[in-house]
C-alpha cells in the first residue's frame, strides 16, 4: 500500500513532529508510514483523514496485486 502522506503534510505545512503530536503517536511512526514501512490501523488512518480533511482513499492507495 502506498500513500501521499508527505504531500498532504506539506500542503498543511506540518512537520512529522507536528503531525505526530496531533495524532498522539511518535515521529518514528509518521516516518515509517511515509516510507511505506508500516501500514497504520484503521483508527490511525481515520485520524489522519480527519486531520487533513480528506477521505482515507485520498491518502492511501492499494498497489497492483494487493
Amino acid at each position: 500500500m502506498k500513500n501521499n502522506l508527505k504531500v498532504q503534510r506539506a500542503i498543511k505545512d506540518l512537520t512529522q513532529e507536528d503531525l505526530a503530536k496531533l495524532l498522539g503517536v511518535s515521529r518514528q511512526t509518521i516516518n515509517s508510514i511515509e516510507k511505506n514501512r508500516y501500514v497504520p490501523s484503521t483508527v490511525l488512518a481515520l485520524k489522519l483523514s480527519k486531520v487533513f480533511g480528506i477521505s482515507v482513499n485520498d491518502i492511501f492507495e492499494l498497489e497492483v496485486g494487493e
Binding site: S26, Y38, L44
Partner: protein
Amino acid sequence: MKNICETERSKLHRLGRFQLPNKYKNVGWAIIVSAFTLMIAKKFVDEPTWVKPVLRNVMILGFLMVSISKEKIEDELMGSLRATSYRLALIIGVLYALVQPYVTYAIESLIDPDNAAIDNGYFQVLLYILLIQIMFFHILKRSS
C-alpha cells in the same frame, strides 16, 4: 454464557496488553547492571552457593521489566514491533535451546570425551512456553 465468554475475552486482552510504565525500563536496567556487577564481584569473595542462582533470577527479572515496560510514546507501531520481536524471540530462543546442548556436547566430546553429556535442562521451560502460546492463541482465536 455469552457474557462469561465476553468477560473472559476482555480479561485476556487486558492481560495481553499489560505493560509497566516507561520509568520501569530504567529500573530494569539498573537491576540488570547491579546483578551483573555483583556476579562479577562474587568471583573474588567467598559467598554461599545460593547467591549465584538468586542473582541470575534477579537479572532475568530485570530483563523482564525492560521487556514489558512502555516506550516514552507507546503507540500502535511500538505495539506491532513488540509483537514481532516476541515472535522472533520465541522462534530463535527455541531453536537456540534445541541446538545449543548438541554444540556443547560436540565441544565437550573433543575436550573431555568421558564426561561429555547432552543437557536437556531447557526441555521443561520450552515445552511450557510453547504449550502456553498455543493455548492462548486458540483461546483468543475462538473468542475473536
